[in-house]
Amino acid sequence: MPQKRKKNGIGRTVGLIFLAFASLALIIKALMHGHNIALFNSKGMIAYDERNLIIFTAVVLLSVALPTLFVLFFTAWRYRESNSKATHNPNAVHNKLLVPAIWLIPTACMLVLALVMWPATHRLEPQKQIDESVEPLTIQVVSTRWKWLFIYPEQNIATVNFVQLPVNTPVEFELTADDAPMSSFWIPNLSGQLYTMTGMVNRLNLMATVAGDYPGSSAEINGAGFAEMKFTARASSRADFDQWVQQTKQSPKVLDAAAYSALLKPSENNPPAFYAATESGLYDTVVMRYMGPSDGHPNHSHGHHE
């Protein structure tokens, strides 16, 4: 049964495995040909903090996992049956420290992680405002099938599949959904994602630090138009943002009940749209529609609210 193997068979295998992993890394590097790794290419404060946390976690884990893997594969190789130099002792009694060690090493590793993770989770809680002393710019987000509606209540404008925000300004997205399954609002360069759900408001606070166009999408499957439910998030200077608001106010379109009703109709791959004004209280109506005791099927009521 034991296979006949050449003497250095396993040693060579180990070398081959290292070579294989190195070439795997090189091939992947080549295939990426310069495209950025969004999660490491953070353009916002929150994303940057989250990036550092990802890297920190990976480093802590690798510092335990790599030596463990090395010891494991080395042990397997060292005590192979054909190795006459190793001491094979089927009755080997283990050191008394073995059991405490195998429990304490992972516990210590996880303790380190947990001690970093607990405060980080509180610091990076999406609902928490970036700076308590500054009132953030509020942007209300409604996910419908299959597009993103952005309402700027203070500026009284609205957009579809495009959102612009000023850099170095805390922004609070108020996320909800209307007549749509759960979706997930995600701009990887600026911050992590959060779900949008009917009748619920989730708050996602972030702050862009570098101007630029960043892709956003729904990370959660929500039906046929899911893959094309994308938007661009443009971070710009304050002046550019103000100018853009003024420009949008010149748009011929207005987000009234009829326009909103049209947005609720399922459609895919919608181009960006800009609305000069919105019906007042539209967002609250959208949220509250699902709150009543017996509000019936939302399909019957949309477009008729005050």
């Binding site: 295939l31 495209h35 950025n36 992680l113 990076l124 759900m197 892709p215």
Partner: protein, 694 residues
């Protein structure tokens, strides 16, 4: 009238897309082929009496293997279709699948791989091995076991039903998260097929869980205390305890979704007070433990294999058992990490993050225990051992990614991305599937009476492991690049396509590995004289399953050995082998078709619910209840084999083994030799028109 008779079922439902028509034709041809072969060889009665109605856990285990293996090919085909679509569908190209079709495929892929491949194999292994390991002749309730198996088969048929009859499959992702799975957003029958396929197979799983917990707790050989139980049995016990704990949750959740969809209720709907977040919580309260249900028996397999092939007692046995129990307990309190992004708040998220990290501790203990077992061992690098080492390489990568996902702020970025997809594939393929392959290679001689070809087994392992890294490392990178899962199309500007193509190539390499596994089995059958195991103990094993013949007689043990230490059979061998047997009467359960009937009626009811045929649903439910009642009145469910008969059977087998030529000391057949043999055989058949004599 037509609506009352047939519900929503009408001509429009019949297959009309290329993939359903193709599937239908393939399934019908396959069924026809099976029918022809069975009729030709006059095997119908044999099939019914020896296999389908059998209550022997060994036969049921083999049937689980066959069905799960077949479903592995079916789910693998889905995987290749997913990979191909994503490799093609960049920028102007939209690939060859519509979004809806693509979504159905990955939903089916997930369901098939988890419920019908992984669960099928795990139940197969548990069925075959656990009774042998604990020195039992059958299970606590042989009837529940056959019923559970046939309900599983019902689920298998249901998940493929749309091929035969039409309609569509769910396009919602494998857990059909509400409200997407509600009638409002998924009006077709796809989600109903999903519900009932999982519902009936899930009930089968619950029954299996109850049965195996009873069996392990009550039917161990004399002297086998819990602290002397083999690790695979421990892993199975923990896994089955978890089944009993969480599968009723799945049943209830599916039932609530069914009420919503069938009767227009509002548990998880968007309006009228429905709460979709409740669905997400409920389904993950089951869904997270489900992965541990799969992986705990795999951990047990690895512990057995490492110990056997290091020729050493398992080190830190009690810590390992504590590790398994720890995983079992903590697995119940981590479900929320699947949706940190729902916005539960920092305290809740951080709590579940900590719990998830805690679960990494017992898992690491198992790994350290394996290292300590190999230390100063005498390690044989057989294929099971290779699968173990492959598991370590992949599982540590996946575990690392898993702990990263357990940090809520990191999860906000990694969740729903391909990083997550790569993570759980690493766990389920690297952990569960490799564990199953390891176990099958290890126990195959016990099951078949001859061991598997080592050489081709090694080839298949290397294709699997290389393909695995080529396929899934790019997915980790893609996730970090911001690629979300389940995309049927993406912009060319993202630069993702080369990595998707690389992943697809990795998938093809894995397929070669799968093909080689099939070749491995065929080659072993061809060469079975050389590979024959006449001793019952080909690996110099340590646990009781090696104390009986290969394959074991239907009563497992003529005389149940007494257990004094943990590595029971190793100890027996050290002390001069099994004592001269003193035979006694054996009580064995009778075969029964009741499980088939109950499952058939359950299937009919489910099918009727899918298509809203009320009368048929009622008929199905009544049928289930009647069959169960009739079965309970059957008191003649056991028979006795007298000691004399046992002695005769044992003697006959010993004679047969003695007559069998001892294994020749030949090398295992290589690929080239295999091809030569097959080609020669085929040429011979054609030249000499051998089919005439078949």
């Amino acid at each position: 009238m037509k609506e009352i008779l047939l519900g929503k079922l009408n001509g429009h439902a019949l297959p009309h897309e290329w993939f359903t028509i193709g599937g239908t034709v393939a399934f019908v041809l396959l069924a026809l082929f099976a029918v022809i072969v069975l009729t030709w060889t006059k095997r119908w009665t044999w099939l019914w009496k020896e296999w389908l109605t059998s209550v022997d856990p060994k036969k049921i285990g083999i049937m689980y293997f066959l069905v799960a293996g077949f479903m592995l090919l079916r789910g693998g085909l889905d995987a290749i279709m997913i990979w191909l679509q994503q490799a093609l569908s960049s920028g102007a190209s939209h690939g060859y699948l519509s979004a809806d079709h693509f979504q159905q495929i990955f939903t089916a892929h997930g369901n098939i791989m988890v419920f019908f491949v992984a669960m099928g194999f795990v139940f197969g292994l548990i069925n075959y091995i656990v009774p042998l390991q604990i020195g039992a002749r059958d299970l606590a309730s042989p009837f529940l076991n056959t019923l559970g198996f046939w309900l599983y088969i019902g689920g298998v048929i249901m998940v493929n039903m749309f091929f035969a009859l039409g309609g569509e499959y769910a396009a919602t992702g494998w857990l059909a998260i509400a409200p997407l799975s509600e009638t409002q957003f998924s009006p077709g029958v796809g989600v109903d097929y999903w519900i009932w396929s999982l519902q009936i197979s899930g009930i089968g799983t619950t029954l299996g869980g109850i049965n195996f917990v009873m069996t392990i707790l009550k039917m161990r050989a004399k002297g086998m205390t819990l602290w002397k139980m083999p690790m695979f049995t421990w892993g199975s016990l923990c896994s089955m305890l978890m089944v009993i704990t969480v599968f009723p949750l799945l049943t209830a959740t599916l039932f609530l979704l069914f009420l919503d969809r069938y009767f227009g209720m509002h548990f998880f709907t968007t309006g009228s007070g429905g709460n979709a977040m409740m669905y997400t919580n409920l389904i993950w309260m089951w869904g997270h433990p489900e992965v541990y249900i799969l992986v705990l028996p795999a951990f047990g397999v690895f512990s057995e294999v490492v110990s056997a092939f290091s020729r050493k007692r398992l080190a830190s046995y009690k810590s390992q058992v504590a590790g398994l129990i720890g995983v079992t307990v903590f697995a119940l309190s981590v479900w929320l990490h699947h949706f940190f992004t729902m916005g539960a708040g920092a305290d809740v998220n951080a709590f579940f993050g900590v719990m998830t990290m805690v679960i990494a501790i017992p898992t690491s203990v198992l790994v350290f225990g394996w290292i300590a077992t190999m230390y100063k061992g005498r390690i044989r690098f057989t294929t099971p051992m290779l699968w173990f080492l492959g598991f370590i390489a992949t599982f540590s990568l996946g575990g690392l990614a898993g702990v990263m996902l357990a940090v809520p702020p990191a999860d906000f970025q990694l969740h729903n991305s391909l990083f997550l997809v790569a993570h759980f594939h690493t766990m389920v393929i690297g952990g569960v599937l490799f564990g199953i392959f390891c176990g099958i290679n290890y126990w195959f001689p016990k099951i078949a009476g001859f061991r598997l070809n080592e050489r081709i087994g090694r080839y298949s392992f290397w294709f699997w492991i290389v393909g695995f890294f080529v396929a899934f490392v790019p997915l980790y990178v893609l996730g970090l690049m911001g690629a979300t899962r389940r995309l049927d199309h993406y912009d060319a500007s993202t630069g993702w396509q080369p990595l998707f193509i690389m992943s697809f190539i990795g998938g093809l390499i894995i397929m070669v590995g799968v093909a080689l596994q099939v070749v491995q089995i065929i080659a072993s059958v061809i060469q079975k004289r050389q590979l024959r195991d006449t001793t019952g103990d080909p690996w110099d094993g340590r646990t009781l399953e090696w104390a009986t013949a290969s394959p074991p007689p239907f009563y497992n043990f003529a005389v149940i050995p007494e257990v004094t230490t943990r590595d029971a059979y190793f100890e027996i061998k050290q002390n001069g082998g099994l004592p001269k047997p003193k035979y006694e009467d054996i009580r064995m359960p009778r075969n029964t078709a009741a499980g088939i009937y109950v499952a058939a009626f359950a299937f009919i009811a489910s099918f009727a619910f899918v298509w809203h045929i009320n009368w048929l649903a009622i008929a199905g439910i009544v049928g289930v209840i009647l069959c169960l009642i009739i079965r309970t009145f059957n008191e003649d469910t056991e028979y006795t084999i007298t000691a004399a008969e046992v002695e005769k059977l044992e003697e006959r087998r010993q004679k047969k083994h003695a007559a069998a030529k001892p294994p020749e000391d030949a090398e295992d057949m290589g690929l080239w030799e295999f091809i030569k043999i097959v080609v020669t055989w085929a040429l011979d058949v054609i030249r000499n028109k051998r089919w005439r004599t078949w």
